[in-house]
């Protein structure tokens, strides 16, 4: 089986988000990046498990971004992917990212294209559906279980509001991964050192005109600090909720 896993980078969850003066870009000074956990823990690891199963095959990871992303891509190789592709672009929209992935995937005859259900910074959940649309493939979102006996059809469990749905689909298809699809793998030192010798191919992007660009970001209003009120002082609590918080 040929498996393609799309990976993106996101700021570490402990990062304090600060924007530049114009408010249209993240101030990246001191920001630590990680691989988007939904891509890494679920999409990539499940792809590796399938490759390691009797079905065998190969796992390619793809990222659309500048060379600063190479560290994240190498982590994917350290965890076990066979090779990596980086489309050397600085995309401003999800549509561009999806277009670049689809352009690459077209030539690859991949049986499955896997990616996280969303990135933990933008939470857009857009790329998977767009890639499927560009490639005219079925798209199965929010997958929490993926099984295939022959690599030709797959049974997929999807998390839906209030329950689960089980679908069957023939390859090739695009799948977005949710929690439960696999268990996080921590790269071992052997994998880390071997990652250096695995191919990371850098390709030029296909021409694309951005249809939208972000012009401004605003942070949510700061949370008010906690005020402790003694349990015997209920009147004060009611007064504060009424006069200050204005919620009652």
């Amino acid at each position: 089986m040929k498996l393609l896993v799309c990976v993106s980078k996101t700021p570490d969850t402990t990062t304090k988000i600060v924007f530049n003066a114009a408010g249209n870009e993240l101030d990246t000074n001191g920001v630590q990046y990680i691989m988007n956990p939904y891509d890494e823990w679920y999409a990539l690891v499940r792809a590796l498990e399938l490759k390691e199963s009797p079905l065998g095959g190969s796992v390619t990871i793809i990222n659309v971004g500048p060379d600063a992303n190479d560290a994240i891509i190498r982590k994917g190789l350290a965890i076990g992917a066979d090779e990596a592709v980086r489309i050397n672009a600085d995309p401003k929209s999800a549509l561009n990212v999806a277009f670049q992935i689809a352009e690459y995937a077209k030539q690859g005859n991949f049986d499955m294209i896997l990616l996280g259900k969303e990135t933990i910074d933008y939470n857009g959940s857009e790329i998977g559906a767009m890639v499927a649309e560009f490639l005219d493939l079925p798209f199965i979102s929010y997958a929490s279980k993926l099984d295939t006996a022959d690599g030709k059809t797959a049974t997929i469990q999807r998390d839906i509001e209030g329950g689960i749905e089980v679908v069957e689909v023939a390859t090739p298809f695009v799948l977005s991964a949710a929690k439960g699809l696999a268990e996080q793998r921590i790269p071992n030192m052997k994998g880390i050192m071997m990652a250096k010798s695995k191919p990371l191919n850098v390709l030029a992007p296909a021409p694309f005109d951005e249809l939208s660009v972000p012009v401004h970001y605003d942070l949510p209003p700061a949370k008010a600090s906690v005020r402790m009120i003694a349990p015997e002082n209920m009147e004060e609590l009611v007064r504060l909720l009424h006069e200050e918080a204005k919620v009652i």
Binding site: K16, V18, D27, N29, G30, Q32, I34, D70, A71, R74, K75, A78, Q184, I186, P187, N188, M189, K190, I192, M193, A195, K196, R227, M228
Partner: protein, 600 residues
């Protein structure tokens, strides 16, 4: 997940202070570029978050128990050791051919620091195994290597260092465990007992392998008659393992590190059938052990600094959440209370913790770097690195251990009453950190080592090299207006120390070693202030340069915090060296003159 370590600070030390990727100039370390180093640090943190940190308090609450000859440890032990083994961490430093990754010690120790800060009571186990395996790898026969190394490196077997006996603790020359050759030395019959053996027996592994010191029958007295043996709890025979007559008489009830066993072992007690396998040459055991001991000592310093690191972040968090009191200038009691971090004295305590933790990390990593260079380089560069490593090891072991105790105590103080309760981890940190000043040589023993051996070795060459290194930082700092005054202060302490040492040597020559060494521990303290001053000036020089180049956001705060902690160190800590100088220059000979019977 609570913070227990600063990954940013480790990266500062590894990349900005030491440029560890530059070690790639040695063939052994090819491939350890910045990217791989960062990936290794991240992997260590992920492992710690998953397998170590969640069990730190658990292991204390459900401590190891001795039950009818067997030792049961917390169930997290086996998966934790296995995860570290499978991550490649037990063998990381070793050759590719035996499954290692030829990792520089500098990087390995930075990662180990993360493990220890998360939960040293678990992470010490795999690293004890590494130490034991090192002895076999360096001095053992091919058969010993073949039998033991794969099982140690895959985490199925635990390695230990078994030196101490009831009558031989600090004084290892008094070891009496005996070894009698059988079949012309095919193996040795071991008899005796060992006490306080860390990881000496537990059910988180399938077997325990002791690297044990004993005296072959008829060997010369003292250190020259001690040999090193591999003594497994179960010895491989045929296709299986048979009991090797190593019995655990009990485990010690300890103040801290309660999930981490210190065992009392009886050798050959039950069946007179405890077999030991000689490592290397007969009577060279202590020499072998000492060659590996420096690394173990750096390891102990790391456990201490890492424990103090976890305590610092716990205190810092509390100080940012606890409202109490108002500023002295604020008399209006209707206004809300301020967070305790608003009080200058609380910040003083936090600065103390930070100064000890980050100063210790800088020194420990620098020593590790000297270790790498001394092993991989040749000629003068290797020799100089070796001398600096030797000279600084007593400080790298003792400073984090002794000052770490105070740092954790301050951390507890930051929490007030809450710090003394078991609702917070400080009380455990306080109990856990204490032993580091005792094992791997007490602070006294390191003071004696520093003054009696290290400062005088090769006609004081190591001390001269250190002086040159300190001068380099002083010169750099003198070019920066904000740091120049501190450069001068450090220069003065250095000159004072040189003068004091000169006087001590002279007195020693006139009045003998009793006088020279009587205050060796005080001298170690004095010397530590100088070395830590050097570490802080070094860090501040780099931080100032980074700030001058322009920083924003969290990076700016990071470098500012380095400068501020350096200022704290020079204004609050370094002056204490002056008092020690007075004590060391006194001719009153108080401790020597105190007759034992006077202590009533």
């Amino acid at each position: 997940m609570e913070q227990y370590v600063s990954s940013r600070n480790l990266r500062f030390v590894i990349h900005e202070m030491l440029n560890t990727a530059e070690l790639q100039r040695f063939e052994r370390f090819q491939g350890y570029d910045k990217e791989s180093i960062d990936m290794a640090l991240d992997a260590a943190k992920q492992l710690s978050d998953q397998y170590l940190y969640p069990f730190y308090r658990e292991m204390d609450k459900n401590k190891a128990v001795y039950d009818n000859g067997t030792v049961k440890v917390h169930p997290c032990m086996r998966p934790g050791i296995k995860a570290l083994a499978e991550g490649g961490w037990i063998s990381a430093h070793d050759e590719f051919e035996v499954g290692g990754q030829q990792m520089p010690y500098t990087l390995l120790n930075a990662c180990t620091f993360i493990f220890h800060a998360a939960n040293a009571n678990l992470s010490c186990h795999p690293f004890l195994t590494t130490g034991a395996a090192n002895l076999i790898r360096n001095f053992g026969s091919p058969e010993l290597n073949e039998t033991y190394i794969p099982n140690l490196y895959n985490g199925d077997w635990q390695g230990t260092m078994a030196l101490t006996e009831p009558q031989a603790g600090s004084s290892l020359s008094d070891i009496t465990s005996s070894a009698e050759p059988v079949n012309g030395g095919e193996y040795y019959k071991i008899k005796g007992q060992k006490i306080y053996i860390s990881g000496g027996d537990h059910d988180g592994v399938d077997n325990v392998v002791h690297l044990l010191l004993a005296r072959i029958k008829g060997a010369p007295a003292g250190t020259k008659g001690i040999s090193l043996f591999v003594v497994p709890k179960y010895r491989p025979e045929g296709d299986g393992l048979v009991f090797n007559d190593v019995t655990t008489a009990g485990i010690y009830g300890k103040m801290g590190q309660k999930g981490y066993v210190a065992a009392h072992l009886m050798l050959g007690e039950q069946h007179d059938d405890c077999r030991g396998y000689l490592v290397g040459q007969a009577n060279a055991g202590l020499k072998y052990m000492f060659q590996m001991m420096n690394e173990a000592r750096i390891g102990t310093g790391m456990v201490a600094a890492a424990t103090a690191s976890a305590a610092y972040y716990a205190s810092l968090k509390y100080a940012n959440e606890r409202p109490q009191g108002r500023h002295p200038s604020n008399k209006d009691l209707t206004l809300p209370q301020v967070l305790i971090i608003e009080h200058a004295d609380v910040r003083r305590m936090l600065l103390y913790q930070k100064a000890v933790v980050e100063g210790s990390i800088a020194l420990l990593m620098l020593c590790s770097y000297y270790g790498d260079v001394s092993h991989q380089s040749t000629g003068e560069e290797a020799q100089n690195a070796h001398l600096l490593f030797e000279l600084l090891t007593p400080i790298a072991k003792s400073y984090p251990s002794e000052w770490g105790i105070h740092a954790v105590s301050m951390g507890m103080q930051v929490l007030g009453g809450a710090g003394y309760t078991d609702d917070f981890p400080l009380e455990q940190h306080y109990r856990d950190i204490r032993v580091n000043a005792i094992y791997e040589g007490t602070t006294t023993i390191h003071g004696l080592d520093l003054l009696g051996r290290k400062l005088t070795m090769e006609n004081g060459k190591a001390a001269m090299l250190l002086g040159q290194e300190i001068q380099k930082e002083v010169q750099t700092a003198l070019t920066m207006p904000a740091l120049a005054p501190y450069a001068e202060k450090l220069g003065k302490v250095g000159a004072g120390l040189q003068e004091t040492l000169g006087k001590l040597v002279q007195t020693g020559m006139q009045e003998g070693p009793e006088v020279y060494l009587a205050d060796a521990t005080i001298f170690l303290e004095y010397f530590s202030y100088l070395v830590m001053g050097w570490m802080w000036l070094k860090q501040a020089n780099l931080a100032q340069k980074a700030l001058d180049a322009g920083q924003s956001g969290s990076e700016k705060l990071f470098y500012e915090s380095k400068i501020q902690t350096c200022l704290y160190y020079f204004e609050y800590e370094l002056p204490k060296a002056t008092a020690l100088k007075v004590t060391l220059n006194s001719s009153a000979r108080v401790t020597l003159g105190t007759r034992p019977e006077v202590l009533v």
